[in-house]
Symmetry: C2
Subunit: 365 residues, 2 copies
Amino acid sequence: MSVSTTVARFDTLALDCGQRLAPVQVAYETYGELNTQRSNAILILHAFSGDAHAAGISAETGKPGWWDNMIGPGKAFDTRCYYVISSNVLGGCSGTTGPSSIDPGTGSPYGSNFPPVSIADMVRLQQLLTESLGISRLLCVSGGSMGGMQALQWAASYPDKVASVIPIATTHRHSAQQIAFNEVGRQAILADPDFNRGDFYGGKYPERGLAVARMVGHITYMSDGSMREKFGRRRRKSSGESDLFEVESYLRYRGGQFVSRFDANSYLVISRAMDTFDMTADCETLEDCFTRGDTRFLVLSFTSDWLYPSYQSQEIVRALRSRNRDVAYIELESNYGHDAFLLEAGEQTSLIRGFLENTFQRLAA
Amino acid sequence: MSVSTTVARFDTLALDCGQRLAPVQVAYETYGELNTQRSNAILILHAFSGDAHAAGISAETGKPGWWDNMIGPGKAFDTRCYYVISSNVLGGCSGTTGPSSIDPGTGSPYGSNFPPVSIADMVRLQQLLTESLGISRLLCVSGGSMGGMQALQWAASYPDKVASVIPIATTHRHSAQQIAFNEVGRQAILADPDFNRGDFYGGKYPERGLAVARMVGHITYMSDGSMREKFGRRRRKSSGESDLFEVESYLRYRGGQFVSRFDANSYLVISRAMDTFDMTADCETLEDCFTRGDTRFLVLSFTSDWLYPSYQSQEIVRALRSRNRDVAYIELESNYGHDAFLLEAGEQTSLIRGFLENTFQRLAA
């Protein structure tokens, strides 16, 4: 199916930092049809560097969406039954207001003037979007990694507006190690003289720093085992330089590819939003975040994911169970590391499909 | 005890790459006394960024050595019984010939002209050193991480010259993930415009790239758990910028500190030596590397070391056992990650002390 990204515009959005973005816009795609009761809408939220194009073939680029193996007719998020909305995040660079957007106050890109945004700010904008689409209650909110953080925040911010949440390979707050990896990426960008304190639009882009940042990311998304399988110690013939290890040329390639589609300021803003995300900051304990509403939860993690290890998902499950919330948790076997949430469609599909059917039937009953 | 680093000079050293370094020098320290039989000498080899100053208080800097908790009177490597030699590595920047040394052919620092060196080259230079000190057979060679690689290479290159080896938290060849982390560090350095293709001596040093490289390293040296204990999500008041996470200011501090004592070209040369180290390259199998000699082995690894995971030590142990070699293996409980080999003196001490005593008695018998 050929799909196009749409943009919704709103007059203003109040941010946690106290500032406002006015106007603000959000890029999104939809798949499937909203039923007459408006009860079959599912919101899908992407990870750090994703965009609104989650499924189908993009009419603009011809490329499949980042979760095309999970969203579509007969898939985990079955578009024959459900109306799926995929929203890009605030602070990004793929159609939603972010540092590269024009600041109406100056007529130039925000650059270093873009305010810090939070995961809750992202969710607030998504709520404006779903409301504008005529949906007062979502059947489900789901996403992996940072998408899972947003899904959890939905349950905390709008417990009456979301019937179920599927947070995958995620956490309610970053560990020191997760912050540390993000910080290395940020420092690589800041070290690039072309970064120019964030005001590089119209000049040279800090491509070298951004590429290094992305390389670090890619290592953390894979597992020791999946890297061994994919690359081992194999060499690749290279011209000029002595033969590189395949893993080296892979990382260089992916780093170089990334700079053509991602904005260095968005990297800083979004990674900071992840690091400062802490569901216990507004509540006494994590348990207290889940006192309201009757949202159901399906929590998934993967055995080889060392970036978002299973114990972090289990912390969420423990908090929910202690409040007698309806929560199922599965740790899925996988060798793919953190990337598993993008790659392991098989087992995720059967779990998610059953959970959604059950949730839908309960609501109808 | 106050100690000083000494330098030994040799006319020439043939390298695996086919080139020669002439002359070549190596920085080293010694602790304790060589006995009259010259049978109590132990060679200690440092990790990636270490130097010859392993024990005691440096007469130059006033600082303790990097393994001062392990080397000294009554310690694991007991200087009341043993003569301990600590050698700096070839390619480094702490007194041994490396990229910042003067190339006698040009009168300027080698810089980008410094030849690639191997772990076996480092060991060859150490053998010149120990020979010049009048030692024909070492009681033991030991080191952690890259020091462990050198120790293993000693057993393969000079099986008759080393009675025992204690490789700690190491591997006989890097995995794709280990290569990948090194490659990110290299790319961070190469991305720094001040790197100037390696010929930066006399100009600005590529400090920003080198600092980012070091930050990546520090994350891999710690464990998720030790970072949580040490930093958690605590913030540190900072001037100007919004409050940083403690882990961020720690990484920035350590990165900044590193550039004052380490050379960017040494980073490239030594990390490449680690990545290309592969004991199976010269043998059919790892087992075949250990057919000669009667060197005894004590192999140590640490539970939370995810950079050099225990399975890598176990591969070595399996190969040695399959050749009926005298090998003991202990996986030590620790929360410190790869840094454990520097920090967990207690349990290492009892194991190493007994192993050395036993080896010494067997030789005397």
